[in-house]
Structure formats: structure tokens, C-alpha cells
């Protein structure tokens, strides 16, 4: 497990603001990441002087489902997905079923929304804006629609699912960089039957560019754009 730690700040204003640290944890199991988030949220709630933080990582092949499906997911579906070689978790985040795996940049901002004077609705829109700007930096045009997340045309490139506890956020976003998209064929991603998934590398290929982008390569750009708005 490689560990990077750095800080960045908003370069567009002269106003002195607290730095927002990020940490990239490479590949971490979903269970460990869940425990880490719980610890960080508790720390944030109990100690007002503790810092906001952006966790960045990748997961081994893992399917997760959101709060609406807690306790309601058919055992057959969970067993089927586990048989594929993936793990399966029910979570307290918003959103429905999705996949996390190698080649997908997962970001868990642990923030107190009051620090940024953001409503839940505006926070989600701001995350979408960060992803859109990051993709644009690589020449891939994306947008936000009435369906939460970031879309390249009709295909979803980044899923979003958040939990908010006393204004502190957890869970976050999942941006497909060079993810094996076949994993998504076994579920209805985010509950949208007529929509497909895509990745930055797939969008490069559509443009005739024979390049691949990895999670490690995209992190500096994403953090830069994160820092512009947060």
C-alpha cells in the first residue's frame, strides 16, 4: 500500500483559507475503507478543530448498494455477484447498486458542509462540477443531467453516492479511468436500465486516441480541480 500525502489550496483568491488535505491509499478493501470513513466522520463530529479530508483510493472488485436497499436485497443477487469473484456490501449512502474496482478512482470527501456553506444539493452539484472539469482537462466532454452523476453523452462515467450525518459527508464519487466495464453488465447500475457505463479510456478510444489513463495519473488533475471549488 503506497501512501501519498499533500495539501493544496485555492489559487484563485488571495483569501487565506484552511488547506484541505488529501490522501491516496492505493487499493483498499471496501470494509477497511468503510471503517476508516466511520472513524473520520466520528473524529470530525467530536472535534471541531479536526480537518476536512479527501480520501482517494481504489477498491478490489466490489458491488455496493445504497440505503434504499438495506435489508431488502435478494440473497440470490448477493450470492450471484459474490460468485463472480467480487465482494458485496449494503451501505447507508444514497443511490442504488454500483460497482467499484481496479482502474476506478474512488473519492470519499469527509467534509463539514457548514465550512463551505453548501447545502446537500449544492454539494452534489459541486462534486459533479469537479468531475466534469477534470474530464474536460483530458479533452472529454461530460455533463450533469437530471440523473445524478457525470455523463459522457448517454453513458455514465462517474457515479455519486453520499451520506450526510450532522452536516459531515462520507462516501462520494467513483470515476472510471481504465476500469473493466464488463463488471457492470451483471447489475443495473444506479437503477437505470437503459443506461450504460463508460470510462475515460473508452472515451479516448471513441475519439481515436489509443491512450489509457490510470488512477494514479489522474489524481493530481482531480485534486487541482477539487481545490478550485472546495
Amino acid at each position: 500500500m503506497s501512501l501519498f500525502f499533500s495539501t493544496f489550496r485555492n489559487t484563485l483568491t488571495d483569501v487565506s483559507i484552511p488547506l484541505l488535505p488529501y490522501v491516496y491509499l492505493s487499493q483498499v478493501s471496501y470494509a477497511k475503507a468503510l471503517d476508516l470513513q466511520k472513524l473520520l466522520v466520528r473524529r470530525r463530529l467530536e472535534n471541531k478543530n479536526s480537518s476536512d479530508l479527501l480520501l482517494l483510493l481504489q477498491h478490489p472488485p466490489t458491488y455496493t448498494t445504497g440505503r434504499r436497499n438495506m435489508g431488502k436485497t435478494m440473497n440470490e443477487e448477493a450470492a450471484y455477484l459474490k460468485n463472480l469473484g467480487a465482494q458485496y456490501f449494503e451501505t447507508l449512502r444514497g443511490g442504488q447498486t454500483t460497482f467499484h474496482g481496479p482502474g476506478q478512482l474512488v473519492g470519499y470527501p469527509i467534509l463539514d458542509l457548514r465550512n463551505f456553506k453548501l447545502s446537500v444539493r449544492c454539494y452534489v452539484a459541486t462534486i459533479e462540477r469537479v468531475i466534469i472539469n477534470t474530464c474536460a482537462a483530458y479533452g472529454v466532454a461530460t455533463s450533469a443531467t437530471k440523473n445524478t452523476g457525470v455523463w459522457a453523452g448517454d453513458d455514465k462515467i462517474c457515479a455519486i453516492g453520499i451520506q450526510v450525518q450532522r452536516f459531515v459527508t462520507s462516501h462520494g464519487f467513483a470515476l472510471n479511468c481504465n476500469t473493466d466495464l464488463n463488471w457492470f453488465d451483471h447489475i443495473t447500475p444506479c437503477g437505470l436500465k437503459d443506461k450504460k457505463m463508460t470510462s475515460l479510456t473508452k472515451e479516448f478510444n471513441k475519439q481515436g486516441r489509443k491512450t489509457t489513463i490510470t488512477v494514479e495519473q489522474i489524481i493530481p488533475t482531480l485534486c487541482q480541480h477539487f481545490g478550485y471549488v472546495f
Partner: protein
């Protein structure tokens, strides 16, 4: 409950009563004299607010809970509502369900301690009621309060509006 007490009948009582009027402490005056909380027998309806933007409308020891107009606007379109089951005992400030909007699940917190006695069944099919009528038809659940004094920890309407102005989100 107002009346006149003859100084001849209760000479030691009048100074307490006068000062209580000034301090608006009728409850404590009658409590000390009659051994019971004035509020317990009051038919006055009370509406209070939390910092997390929940409201509670209390009549005697029964309360109706919901989220405020400010909160529903901050959340966006509510698509899923999770409320405690009837019979659940909750503590003040403890988790009391969640609302999902724009793929974000936001926890709701109990304004007071007590037992949930009814939930709004309409919200399962029509979660949008919370956006359309957050402080009326979009009520979340009803609670039998176990500690009326906890209402003292909550905000009055004018305090809550000031709290919202200070929060001032985008």
C-alpha cells in the same frame, strides 16, 4: 389560568407571583405550589426547531416531527424516506431516520426523546410531499414525549429563522 389571589388568603404568595410574571415563569410558581409542571396541564400548542432543521409541534405530550422548508430546499427533490418503526424509542438528538435526495442520504435527528407512535404512510409512495408541504402534509412521524423539559433545549421560531440566516447556504 389567571385569577386574583387575595393578599389575605396567601400573603406570602403574591411577591413570588409578581416576580414570576416579570420573569415569565408561571410554570415554576405553580409547580412549587401545586407539585406539578404547569406545562403538563397546558393545552397550549408549542412548535420548536432544531439546529439540524427539524421541527416538532407538541400538544400536551404528543409531538409531530418533520423537516423545515429550509431543509427541504437544501436537500433537493426527496426520492426516499426512511423513518423509525412504530414503537421505536428514540433519544433526543439520536438518529431518527433518513431522507434521500440527489443520491445523498441525510440523517434526521429526533428533536426530543420518546416513543414513535405513528409514521406518515403517505411518504412511501409520495416522498415529494416533503418538498411540497414540509411543515404540514410532509410530516414524518408522531412521538409520545418522555421528557417535556427537553423542549427547553430547542429553538423558538424567531431563533430558528436567525439560525438559518446565519447558516446562509448557496
Amino acid at each position: 389560568m389567571l385569577g386574583f389571589i387575595s393578599p389575605k388568603l396567601a400573603p406570602s404568595y403574591i411577591p413570588k407571583f409578581r416576580s414570576a410574571i416579570l420573569r415569565n415563569e408561571f410554570g415554576s410558581v405553580f409547580a412549587s405550589r401545586f407539585g406539578a409542571s404547569f406545562r403538563e396541564y397546558s393545552s397550549k400548542k408549542v412548535k420548536k426547531y432544531t439546529k439540524e432543521h427539524e421541527w416538532i409541534h407538541v400538544e400536551r405530550d404528543l409531538g409531530t416531527i418533520g423537516i423545515t422548508h429550509y431543509a427541504q430546499n437544501a436537500l433537493g427533490d426527496v426520492v426516499f424516506v426512511e423513518v423509525p418503526e412504530v414503537g421505536t424509542v428514540v433519544e433526543q438528538s439520536g438518529t431518527c431516520g433518513a431522507l434521500e435526495s440527489v443520491k445523498a442520504a441525510s440523517d434526521i435527528y429526533a428533536p426530543v426523546s420518546g416513543k414513535i407512535i405513528e409514521v406518515n404512510q403517505n411518504l412511501e409512495k409520495s416522498p415529494g410531499l416533503i418538498n411540497k408541504s414540509p411543515e404540514a402534509d410532509g410530516w414524518l412521524c408522531k412521538i409520545q414525549l418522555s421528557k417535556l423539559s427537553e423542549l427547553d433545549n430547542l429553538m423558538e421560531e424567531h431563533e430558528y429563522h436567525k439560525h438559518c440566516e446565519e447558516s446562509e447556504s448557496h
